[in-house]
Symmetry: D2
Subunit: 313 residues, 4 copies
Amino acid sequence: MGGKSLLRGSPHPPAVPRDSDVQSWKLEDNFKLTRVGVTNLMKPVSIMRPSGAVVLVPTIDVFVDLPAELKGSHLSRNVEALAECVEGSFCETATSLEEVCARMARELLKRHGYASVAEVHARADYFLEREIYNGRTSLERYKLIARAIAHRGPPVDVRKLIGVEVAGMSACPCAMEGVRELLIKQHPEQRRFLESIPVMSHNQRNIATLIIEASEDAKVEANDLIGIVEGRGVSAPTKELLKREDEAHLVMDAHGNPKFVEDIVRDILRAVVERYRDLPDTTEVIVRSESKESIHKHNAFAERVTTLGELRA
Amino acid sequence: MGGKSLLRGSPHPPAVPRDSDVQSWKLEDNFKLTRVGVTNLMKPVSIMRPSGAVVLVPTIDVFVDLPAELKGSHLSRNVEALAECVEGSFCETATSLEEVCARMARELLKRHGYASVAEVHARADYFLEREIYNGRTSLERYKLIARAIAHRGPPVDVRKLIGVEVAGMSACPCAMEGVRELLIKQHPEQRRFLESIPVMSHNQRNIATLIIEASEDAKVEANDLIGIVEGRGVSAPTKELLKREDEAHLVMDAHGNPKFVEDIVRDILRAVVERYRDLPDTTEVIVRSESKESIHKHNAFAERVTTLGELRA
Amino acid sequence: MGGKSLLRGSPHPPAVPRDSDVQSWKLEDNFKLTRVGVTNLMKPVSIMRPSGAVVLVPTIDVFVDLPAELKGSHLSRNVEALAECVEGSFCETATSLEEVCARMARELLKRHGYASVAEVHARADYFLEREIYNGRTSLERYKLIARAIAHRGPPVDVRKLIGVEVAGMSACPCAMEGVRELLIKQHPEQRRFLESIPVMSHNQRNIATLIIEASEDAKVEANDLIGIVEGRGVSAPTKELLKREDEAHLVMDAHGNPKFVEDIVRDILRAVVERYRDLPDTTEVIVRSESKESIHKHNAFAERVTTLGELRA
Amino acid sequence: MGGKSLLRGSPHPPAVPRDSDVQSWKLEDNFKLTRVGVTNLMKPVSIMRPSGAVVLVPTIDVFVDLPAELKGSHLSRNVEALAECVEGSFCETATSLEEVCARMARELLKRHGYASVAEVHARADYFLEREIYNGRTSLERYKLIARAIAHRGPPVDVRKLIGVEVAGMSACPCAMEGVRELLIKQHPEQRRFLESIPVMSHNQRNIATLIIEASEDAKVEANDLIGIVEGRGVSAPTKELLKREDEAHLVMDAHGNPKFVEDIVRDILRAVVERYRDLPDTTEVIVRSESKESIHKHNAFAERVTTLGELRA
């Protein structure tokens, strides 16, 4: 049957026998689509980590493109591919969430013969044992961000994206200088001392995001990205478990390292340039920092969308 | 037709002529329901304030109870009642969101003859001009919470609930003392000075909630509740617009008034007791404070659910 | 130091040596608090199920009450208790999320000697293998809801709450009768046939919630609750993986079992009464159904909050 | 002072007198930033519509870029610009939300002399009176999406984006054919009749998005976009207020116009091509459709990101 009548939004499907594989109906004179698929899937996925198998529960979106002449994409194939992946057949040896995405994207191109591009997006809560103070440790939570985009080629080209979202702490350098001035005005005899110590500022939860997009075989490890954000980005990392002395140390650390959202983004960029000398210039890099300002109802935000090549220039 | 077969989940509706007013079908041997209605309605509502008409855009939930013998509640009557209210007929002189809720609840009892209770819940963004420093002002945003519950009686009894949610700032008194100890250890010669000033602490956005439930004619004004939370509750109010000097003043103010979530709840309770001497002992009071801790990924929380009578004891 | 000056919100902490265990400062003439604790904790928890260990990643809120004379609750003890539970010491043999909550609540009473009540709330994604059609299976997702409330006694009394949230499908019985009337008007010669089959209606995703609160040793199994909601509550269960024929069967099943939100709540209540004959009359039961109406922008909602005793009367 | 030491994350700010205008500190050898600003601002904005002034309450994000040599962006200037706009000085004659964004973006370039690009994003609830059946009307709610991006030039070039998000209804054409086959198998004698009428299918709330990006003076009206989505896109528009007969008509209309998410996107694209013949080929167009599938826990999704030129080819 012709696609045209369908396109005109005919108020009633025509009363003729028809194929119930509606997705395969042919269309004429229509538009291709950039991405068609399913969003908000959720499945436990087992990943092989050096320390053993880890179960993640990502929320997953899965898409392929659709050529102009096909009425619909077979969405159940996406869910089937994920089910098979999860039940162990072709993802069982994956060592990271982005590897699961990459394998899924390759598989989607196989199952959707009409598609030229496949995309898989995933986000998952992720936990890492981190040191606090005095050698004690605490299990800290992060968000993993993973994506894969496969182009059919030949050969099939897969790019993947590895990212982390980290809740850290930011202390404002500007308010600290303003407070210092006020304190010196109140206590001019203490100017010297007040100029030598960190003083009060506003500080708050900062959500810092670091995403690196690279070819399928590029070696980028999520734990390293978390290390960069916590060690080089935020004023101080947040910790779930702090005893009284730990709290004081953390507050001192953060105020000894005051940072704007701008500073956080730039310092992460610098660390990325230093750490990933082997990745090519085309490597895409996205860094973002958003502070839930304690003195405002709105947030402060900074972002850089770039490539390693631009950063190296 | 009998209700029983329906209750058994018959796989197919019986092939007999039937009344399409399905809600009015009679059931036997079934259960009454506590609340049946519609949620997530949204309508602009005009409120008469001393300063003129103000338009709020609340999200509204509307319920009545349902007796055991009725299959369904006529949900479109809820939407009709709200539409008439909004379009001006019976809410146009309302001076507050909780008055709109109370009038709606009375109206619902009229329209649902079978109901013995009607409930209306509303939440809306709300804006108030507030002073910053130096006499300048800024438009600050809040959440209004309003509810009304009408019991048929006779006479119809309506209780209403007036509440506000305020994003303020909290500075931790415990971490401040810990930091003071550390600073004194580092600078023992400055002990005296360091004991005389507020020092660094962690501070963060705190969401404080104050809700008072009272009889329909009780005089409680949302602006006063906001005044209590900002003036007596949080370490300092947040402000949307702060110049550099203002920021420093606000940070100093907050650190000069360090508070746990527990302190915030208690100080609001005290202010409520002082402010509402005329309200009866049965007046319900809910106070809540939640800090988006800058040093943790989790929040700190305190709450008191009580009555004025208990607070006065 | 006296509590009074603190309560007055003194603008500056007094310049005297003080104990940095600020939480333990004594207050005079102040208010007790209903619940003080931490919200939005997240930790992977291992549960022993008949089929083996299952890892859940609940979001957890933890509270104790606070007497009037204590300035603060030691919030880090809550996080420590959870960390020890998670790392295996005292929760490792727990067979359900509500059992983890119950053990946590008992532990909190030990660690907060001043508290008389402890509460633990948890919510987690949960997955179950379910049959589709033709014997195939699909991994379906649900929400688990678990709570425990411990009163110190003696003896310590723990009540727990077990609940599930299920995304099912509801088809409207009222619109179906309206459509039937319209079809008969258009095709009067087909009246008999049209009265014998289910016809079009609006159908949509329905979120049904079933929660049972019972004493610590009451036997209520989350999988059974899911079975009740899917088998007796909604018009039909939703499925993640459906081939074309399956979709048609599911749509037929749902339209052969059309239900208001009211019907869903009542049919679940009936199944609960039948299934839990051994639980005492005091057992609290909450059933809720919310339809994301396909024909409206708002939702339809029904709820019953009751006890098994009331339902049996 | 040199930027380098700051970049190294020195654990302590140097003990020298310094300028408290920290944002203006000069950096060496650092990175420019793509966007720096504030997110989650909220202000009531008055728009002049043909029918009179309308108050919208958008959530607003405001950014400028930042050159490599400046430490920080003066974020309070963003809030000041918005406050002046809201209080009537330079936005008072704006006739649309995107015009407010465009004026704001121009203003930001004035206030941030160092910036070469300014961006303003806004989203707001929006209400329109729509016909139901029988000439009655109902106030329906939508989301407006507006953006403006200003490049300094000279001359300053402003592009704006106008979009709407509409909750409509989608009925699945594939499940309808599957159900038809099943019904014919059960009632082979009724094949002819069953092939002549729409039959049951799954249907659900569909969120359709249409966004057009164009030069500052392009004439695109949000109400027209809503008309396209409701009239040409979804199977049927949703309505807040439906009496029993209306519900049946709406269900019949939707099943007489069954659509995949793919169909919805394509039919909107076609309508856009027909409606906006005067806009240039460079006009960017984004169309998206997401169905909250009633038979699944996940959503179906389709999207096209393109230009009018590509669509016309």
